[in-house]
Assembly symmetry: C2
Homo-oligomer: 322 residues x 2
C-alpha cells in the first residue's frame, strides 16, 4: 500500500499543461508500489499513471529507469511508456518530488499464479533480457553480493530476535555466497524485482511488466533465480517443481541458458533469497508497527534460503544439466 503524498487538482492541472495528454478528468491515489506514490489519471485522451518518487528512489537514477522503459517498449516489451513533455523532458516535479507520467497498462497481477503463468513469465523475462541489449545507459545493482554485508551488519545484532540462531545461520550463508559468487556468466539488464505484483496478465497472457525501479546491469540468470523465489514457492514454503520447470522452460524457449548459468542456479537462488531476506529483515527491525508500509515477514525468505542451501543439482529446480 502506498500513496504517501497528496496532490491538489491545481498542482496536477498545472503539471499536465506541460504534456499533450488532453484534459484531466479524474485522479485517484492507488494502492500499488511500495516505494512511491502512484496516481491513476483519466484524461480526455487516455489513462495514465503518475508516479511521485519518494525518498528510496535516487533522482539521478531516473534517467536510467525511464530510459529503460522507453527502450524496452520500443523493442517489443509490454511495459509502461514514459510520456515526454512538450519540451521533451520526462522527469517532472510535483509536490516537491520528482515525478513521471507513464502510460497505463491494463491487466491484473496474479495473487495465485499457476504453472502456465510461470511459463509465460519465464518467456516474458527472457524477452526482456534480449530487448535490454543495446540500451546505452548502465546502472550497477545496488543490492548484489557486495552490498549484503553492510546491510547485514545493520540488522545482525537483532537478528536473533526474529529467530534464535538466525545470526550464525546467515553469517555462514554470507561467507559461502561471497566466496562462491559466479563472475563469468552472461550479463545484461535485469528487472531485479520481478515478483507477481509487477507482472500483469490478461487471461493467460502477460500484458505488461511494471516497476523497473530496481532494474540494473547484472547476471541475467540472477533475475531467473529471483523469479524462482518469487513465483515457484507455495504459501507453506514448499517448492513447486511443476512451476519451476514451467518457468525455466518458458525462459529457455526464448533464450536458451548456457551450461554455466544452469550450474550456478542453486547459488544464485540462495543469494537472491538472502538479498530479499536482508531487506525484509532490515525493514522488520526498523519500520515502526502500524506505519503505512507493508512489512513482509523475513522468515519467509529464511525458509527459501534453507531450501536452496540443500539443493545438490539444478535438476531439483526443474532444469537438466548436461
Amino acid at each position: 500500500m502506498a500513496v504517501y503524498t497528496d496532490i491538489t487538482e491545481l498542482e496536477l492541472g498545472a503539471l499536465l499543461k506541460e504534456y499533450d495528454v488532453g484534459d484531466l478528468l479524474s485522479y485517484k491515489g492507488i494502492a500499488e508500489g511500495s516505494e512511491n506514490s502512484n496516481y491513476m489519471l483519466h484524461t480526455s485522451k487516455a489513462a495514465f499513471i503518475l508516479t511521485l518518487y519518494e525518498r528510496r528512489v535516487e533522482r539521478s537514477d531516473l534517467p536510467f529507469f525511464l530510459g529503460l522503459m522507453e527502450h524496452l517498449a520500443q523493442n517489443g516489451v509490454n511495459c509502461p511508456l514514459p510520456v515526454h513533455r512538450r519540451d521533451g523532458v520526462v522527469v517532472s516535479e510535483i509536490a516537491e518530488r520528482p515525478a513521471a507520467l507513464i502510460t497505463f497498462l491494463e491487466g491484473m497481477w496474479l495473487r495465485k499464479p499457476a504453472p502456465r503463468h510461470c511459463r509465460e513469465v519465464g518467456k516474458a523475462m527472457a524477452g526482456m533480457h534480449l530487448a535490454g541489449q543495446g540500451f546505452e545507459l548502465t546502472r550497477p545493482n545496488a543490492l548484489t553480493v557486495g552490498d549484503w554485508r553492510p546491510l547485514w551488519e545493520k540488522a545482525k545484532p537483532r537478528a536473533d530476535e526474529v529467530e534464535p540462531g538466525l545470526m550464525s545461520e546467515v553469517e555462514a550463508d554470507l561467507a559461502a555466497l561471497t566466496e562462491g559468487w559466479p563472475q563469468d556468466l552472461p550479463t545484461g539488464i535485469i528487472h531485479a524485482d520481478l515478483f507477481p505484483d509487477n507482472v500483469f496478465f490478461l487471461g493467460d497472457e502477460v500484458s505488461g511488466i511494471i516497476d523497473f525501479y530496481f532494474a540494473c546491469n547484472d547476471l541475467l540468470a540472477y533475475d531467473i533465480a529471483t523469479c524462482l523465489n518469487a513465483w515457484c514457492f507455495e504459501a507453506d514454503g514448499s517448492y513447486n517443481l511443476t512451476k519451476g520447470t514451467a518457468l525455466l522452460e518458458g525462459y529457455q524457449s526464448v533464450r536458451p541458458l548456457e551450461q554455466a548459468e544452469i550450474a550456478a542456479l542453486p547459488l544464485l537462488a540462495r543469494g537472491s533469497a538472502l538479498r530479499f531476506m536482508l531487506t525484509r529483515l532490515y525493514d522488520w527491525l526498523t519500520i515502526p508497527d502500524g506505519a503505512l508500509v507493508n512489512k513482509r515477514d523475513p522468515m519467509e525468505y529464511v525458509r527459501r534460503l534453507r531450501f536452496h542451501r540443500q539443493i545438490s543439482s539444478p535438476s531439483e529446480y526443474g532444469i537438466g544439466i548436461k
Copy 2:
C-alpha cells in the same frame, strides 16, 4: 486512505460474471473513502467502482443507500448508479463482505474550494434535496442530537486529555443543543457527510456527489449546516463569509429556505460541529496510532463549535432573515 481487504482476480472474475459489464481489464485499490474498501475497475465496456463494505456499514442499510443512489440518479442528480446483476440484485458478496458495483464518475474533489465552488455545491445540495422527495425508503439519522449523548459518554472521561476544560465545555453545548434542537423544520433525504472529498468537479461544475453511506431522513437545513462547517472555514479556523454567502445563495437559487430554517442555522451549525467533533474525538481516543485510518483532529471542530456558539444572527453566515 482505505483498501482494507485484498481481493484476487479469480474472486473478482467470478463476481463480474453475475453482471453484464464486459470483461475485466484491470482493478486497482484506491485510496478513497474512510470506511470501506474501494477498487477502480476497467472492463471492456466502462470504468466502475467496486465497494466492499467494512464493519462500520450495516448490511441492512445497503438497500437504502443503493436504492437512494439509483433514485437520485434517475431524478437528475449526478451520482454513481449501482449496477444490477443479471438476477436483478445490487448487493453482492466478495471476500466475505457485502459489495456493490457502481458506475465510475469522472471529476476531482477540490482540496481548496473557492467561493464559486461553494455556490455550486449549494445548488447541487438543494437539487439533491428536491430529487430525494419521493424516495420510498427511510432511514433515521444514527448520528443526530439524541445519539450524541451516548457517544459523548464514551469519550468524556478522557476529553480533557485533548484540551483541558473540554469536558465541561462540551457538556454545556450538549445541554443547550438537546434543549433547543428544532423540531418543525422541513425534512427529507440528506447526505449528512457532504464534505469536499464527496463532491467531484469538472472545471467549475459539480460532476458528481458520492459516498451516500451516512444519508438519512432528517432536517434539510442540517445538511446545509454541515456544508457550512465543511466548505466555508479556512485552514486557520476562520469563517469565510464570502464562501458562506455563495453556498447559501446557491442553495436558495434552487430551493428557497423558510424563515424558520434560516433562524435555526446557528443552532444547526453548532450541532453539526458537535457531531463531527464527537466522532473525531472518539476515533482520536480509541484508534491506535499508525493504524491505516486517517485520524482527524477533533480540535478543528471544537474551534467550529466555539465560532457557532457566539453567532447572534444568521446574517453572520451570509444569509439575511426578514
